[in-house]
């Protein structure tokens, strides 16, 4: 049997679904923000970056 879009189950679970939706949206936003922050570090001072250099200053 098909579950009708207007079924009572949907209204019953609405609050929960909206909350989980917002939570997941927030999680995506957080990953995005952290990515921006991590990638905007200059590469030569980021210890995790592939082209991290221990002799900063000498190159400049």
């Amino acid at each position: 049997m098909a579950i009708h879009p207007g079924h009572e189950l949907h209204s019953r679970r609405k609050g929960r679904n909206v909350a989980i939706g917002l939570l997941l949206g927030g999680f995506v936003a957080m990953i995005f923000a952290v990515t921006i922050v991590k990638l905007s570090k200059p590469q030569n001072v980021d210890i995790n970056a592939p082209n991290y250099s221990t002799n900063i200053g000498e190159n400049e």
């Binding site: 579950i3 019953r12 609050g15 909350a19």
Partner: protein, 317 residues
Amino acid sequence: MSDATHSEVQPYEAQFSDYMELLKPGVMRLVVFTAIVGMVVAPVPVHPVIAIASMLCIAVGAGASGALNMWWDRDLDAIMQRTKDRPIPTGRVAPGEALAIGLALSGFSVMMLALFANPMAGAWLAFTIFFYVVVYSMWLKRLTAQNIVIGGAAGAFPPLLGWVVATGSISLEPVLLVALILLWTPPHFWALALWRNDDYKAAGVPMLPVTRGERVTRRYIFGYTLLLIPVALAPSFTQIGGGLYFAVSLLLNIMMLLGAWQLLRRREADRDADNFRAEKRFFGFSIIYLFLHFMMLLVEATLRAFEISLFALPIWY
């Protein structure tokens, strides 16, 4: 069969707030507060976005261990007055659901913290969850009267987590903060256990007043308070403390000691006469005691940031 019949077998649909309750928001607040202090007092600045993301991971990790604890202790929770309204005993959340949420959120929070901050922080969060759920809840809580001492250790880790988020390593200062919460927990909780004795007795949890009696508990409260004092004062002489912290801590410790001394001298007749008034007062004060210690560390960190020194103390470490 229609979908309408399906809804009849499920009389209550767990709401989002029920799941939130599973994560013990009260404990979470305390965890986040002490973790923030641990992070702020660390000598390495953290980018605000990384800081917020890391604190969320620590909060979710704490919540996950709360859910796992509720899953494991559901039999006790149903008996005890203090816990009988939790989501599992009241049937709002199924035990299996709590277990699934606890495990999933534990894994998630540990992985995300390792990625957001550093792997060391992730590892410490994993250890904290393991310690609280396996070592404390599953193993020692129902076995020994020193359960609170061990459980206190799990609650003591957050400032260290905050510190590791910032620095990626461990130093004496966060260890002192861990020791502060660790030694504070037994007198704090035993004061509560004194007037909640019947509750623990009914549930068969071997709390100290149940196994060794009230007199011994009062002696232990005093003993642990004596141990607590030097540990609480010690951060004054490290880089995170200072004169202001020392002054406030000294005052708080004197009051704590007087409170513990008062509890030690009370007899059954005294506590029956005023219905555990002194014990309740001591319990309430102990919360303020810990809160103010951490607040003063925040104040000291702020003063340092603005390069203000009210009265300097020697820094031994």
